[in-house]
Amino acid sequence: MRFEPGQQVRVAARPHEGHCRTPVYLRGKAGTVASVHGSFTNPETRAYGADGLPEQPLYGVLFAQRHVWPAYAGPAGDTLVVDVYEHWLEEA
């Protein structure tokens, strides 16, 4: 595990071709690791018949809504938790 709860992380802004479970709306956004779910096979390779190994750690990452959506109409305290695999996360 490269990251632990409370740590600041950023979702990689790189483009990606093919199957991917990291939503485009999060690319380049910074958040905080809220939970560590364990390690799971990588869906990006498994989708094409591979075994998905090595397994990727999966994190629940907490984002401030107003950071993700600059025009967010709700209160400043509203949040979004998205599960992101480790190879999509960078130190922030």
Binding site: T22, P23, Y25, H37, F40, L58, G74, T79, L80, D83
Partner: protein, 216 residues
Amino acid sequence: MGHDHDHRHDHDHDHEPIRHDGEPQAAARVRALEELLVEKGVITRDAVRQGVDWLVSRSPGDGAKLVAHAWVDPAFKERLLTDARAAADELGLDAGPSPKVVAVENTDEVHNMVVCTLCSCYPRALLGPPPAWYKSLAYRSRAVSEPRAVLAEFGVELDPDVELRVLDSTADVRYLVVPRRPDDTEGLTADELAALVTRDSMIGVAQPRAAEPQPA
């Protein structure tokens, strides 16, 4: 059904036969995929039938039992929030084949609401098949970008002081919301409480039903 007589329409223009089988495009695509997978020996028809049987046999009643037990038993609630699969096992409930099931608790401070923006990930084993709106593009996009407006359309006006936390289940985790226990339900049994726990309240887009007023 075929027929070999000379077929006459009662109008005289030519057109392709009108088909009334009404199969949606997505269903036709799934059927074509299934044919190929069976032909190539990847899956069997029996496995598909068993999968469909399992899915339609699931219902929100199982999730409701978990929630009601959590409401009456704080120690069980802690176990549910720590490891939902193990807690389901305790009650003899099947949490399903998903790699991980996580229960999150709504409180006075935080209201959780679940979406899968990428497809339709959903704790099917505990809630049954997801509703059509959960799979719609409108819900999947608006639930993350304007969730309070979506909640208002479901009839939930959330206090601005409450943190609305949207969970986008993009990966291997399926989320089950434990809604807040309704007021004036102190005397109810777990079974009576379970009847108040709706599917939508476990997705986080609604509050549970209110209790019937108790006789004085």
